[in-house]
């Protein structure tokens, strides 16, 4: 017997440790559930961390109102299966209440409107830790995140004044009104996620697998056609075989042309990919520091 863990087993052990630490250190934690593969993996790890007890905290979905139907159906089925509690924070409601503003024009997204909605959900439910599926390999501002990331009472991230995180001793102490973001899968890469999904046989929304769909080509991005999208004069709707590498708001998540219809095909595709998975996220392309700016304000 050689006492070695292969890397996915070690990552799993680390993430379970972080989830348990968050549960033990905070009074009222939650998981931010987007319906994307990363938050599905975090949820899967949470089921493991507390087995045979049920996940001892709710899942929170910030609903932009611009969802893929598949995501919502998948979410409801998963919640049912694991017996967890679901809390929905509605961007539409936040807009109706004047808490957030809807952007106008052809490039309008509800990306920034998610921030006040999320912060409002955290405040209303008195969550002191929100666990998310962000990974450090996704984007350069995220590469500097801690496992336990401190937010002030405005929900803001101060990247230059982060607490040092030593060994695996996570310091979750905070003042009243402050909260933490916790990132259990910080050290996973996109490839790790896919290999783990395969190893653990984790169910995913069908959007991740190739299918025929009505799409619009906008610059280098392929967007799904939906009632929420405004066509530019020269744009037209076509049918293509596509799949999604990330799943977020309908209006910003770009599809890729792909025939990958199984996990093995997807893993082969990811291994050969020459663009990052966020390469076609319109929200990240706004400027070089787009993610950092949003994170400072309280984005995921």
């Amino acid at each position: 017997m050689s006492y070695r863990l292969e890397h996915l087993a070690e990552l799993e052990a680390e993430s379970i440790y972080v989830l348990r630490e968050a549960f033990a250190q905070f009074e009222n934690p939650c998981i931010l559930f987007s319906g994307g593969k990363d938050s599905i993996v975090v949820t899967h790890l949470a089921v493991k961390a507390f087995y045979p007890a049920k996940i001892p905290f709710p899942l929170v979905h910030i609903d932009t109102g611009h969802n893929f139907d598949e995501t919502i159906a998948f979410r409801d089925e998963l919640i049912q299966k694991i017996g967890a509690q679901l809390i929905v924070g509605s961007v539409q409601e936040a807009i109706d209440n004047g808490l957030a503003q809807d952007e106008k024009g052809v490039h309008a997204t509800r990306n920034t409107a998610q921030i006040p909605t999320l912060l409002d959900a955290i405040e209303k439910n008195k969550f002191d830790a929100a666990m998310g599926g962000a990974r450090r390999d996704e984007e350069k501002a995220r590469a500097k995140e801690r496992f336990f990331s401190h937010r002030d009472d405005f929900g803001q991230w101060d990247p230059k004044n982060q607490r040092p995180e030593l060994w695996n001793l996570y310091n979750g102490r905070k003042k009243y009104g402050e909260h933490f973001r916790v990132f259990p899968i910080s050290n996973w890469t996109e490839m790790d996620i896919w290999e783990y999904i395969k190893k653990e046989n984790i169910a995913l929304p069908s959007l991740y697998f190739s299918h025929e769909r009505e799409v619009i080509r906008r610059g280098d991005t392929i967007l799904a056609n939906s009632p929420f999208i405004t066509l530019k004069p020269n744009e037209k709707v076509t049918k293509e075989i596509v799949r999604f590498r990330t799943i977020g708001d309908l209006t910003i998540t770009g599809a890729v042309q792909s025939e990958a219809s199984t996990l093995d095909h997807i893993i082969a595709e990811v291994a050969a990919a020459c663009e990052t998975e966020r390469g076609n996220r319109a929200d990240d392309q706004r400027s070089e520091a787009a993610m950092e700016e949003r994170k400072k304000e309280g984005y995921f």
Binding site: M1, H7, Y51, P52, A143, L166, W167, L169
Partner: protein
Amino acid sequence: MKGELLRFTTAGSVDDGKSTLIGRLLYDSKSIFQDQLAAIENTSKKKGLDEIDFSLLTDGLKDEREQGITIDVAYRYFNTPNRKFIIADTPGHIQYTRNMVTGASTANAALILIDARNGVIEQTKRHSYIASLLQIPHVLVCINKMDLVNYEESAFEKIKEQYKDFAAKLDIQDFKFIPISALKGDNVVNRSKKMEWYNGSTLLHSLENIPVANDLNHIDFRFAVQTVLRPHSDEYHDYRGYAGRIASGILRIGDPVTALPSKLQSSIKKIHCAELELQEAYAPQSISIELEDDIDISRGDMIVKTTNQPENSQEIDAMVCWMGENPMQLNGKYSIQHTARSGRAIIKEIVYIVDLNELKRIEGKTSLEKNGIARIKIKTTTPLFFDSYRKNRNTGSFILIEETNFNTVGAGMII
């Protein structure tokens, strides 16, 4: 990809080309994506540079890109068919010692960069001392910018001797020297054609072959309880699972164990890894344990084998690296976090402060400034169950937390 995970940290002075080296490792191992490459190519051109500036890949925050320096620890990922790597990229400036300690705390290996033109300088000593203090098992000394000394063996040999002389005073178990040019790509991933005199392995090959599992302590079983799982369902009516991550050692069903601090004894009934039942488990697995007897155990308690117990004391000797804005004060009180256990600690004595430039001890001080390192004696409100840091990095480490603002201000290593 069935490989293990290697975590390593990088240290160098401001212009040693550390970010360039990481960029080179990622680029030559084909871990950079086209859109990332296009973005940095674009920025390099805008800055009027002839070659691609790989440091743009790792300098993540806006301020860093503007100032061209690394402010905080950034984590990078890449893999080869043999292994997955996590890089903790830490800044080399004097005022950022805290970041290097942070990056070093989880590393199995350290890359120390030396500019071939400058040889061993104060910062090299400082970085090596931290690698030794943090007990990083393997140190790879990369003598960089060999292209600027005409790839001469004598330049490499001279620095090697310099380093060995000084490292004799440190406690580094394994070190190795590699002549490289991060900018030109010599001996990073691909073997250099300009340094035929060098017979050793390239940097990547060395990283792929560092023995990871051997660095873990497989002898002393230590299990700090993070939380107790009580499902309260009909099916699991009396279930009590002690959940945690094995800090060190190996556990088997039937092993006689003792819970600390109560010293109550029992034996292992079941070992769970989520829905799986295991016959044995080992570090660093996250598991939950059922005991034969119903004894009172809660978060912060430690389960160990009855025949192999850790130290158990409220008075502790340690080395501490200070990270707080406010200096550490003699008789100052702080919160302490050790394994899953929390309490309060008072600084009873500052035995000496380490002068990092001269590597000398300074006695008679009553406070420790930010980025300073000292040997201290502390007293805790609650007993801690620990091993020396040298024997066990997980049960030998602790953090100190300021009680007014809750910042993590001290990194402690028990002697």
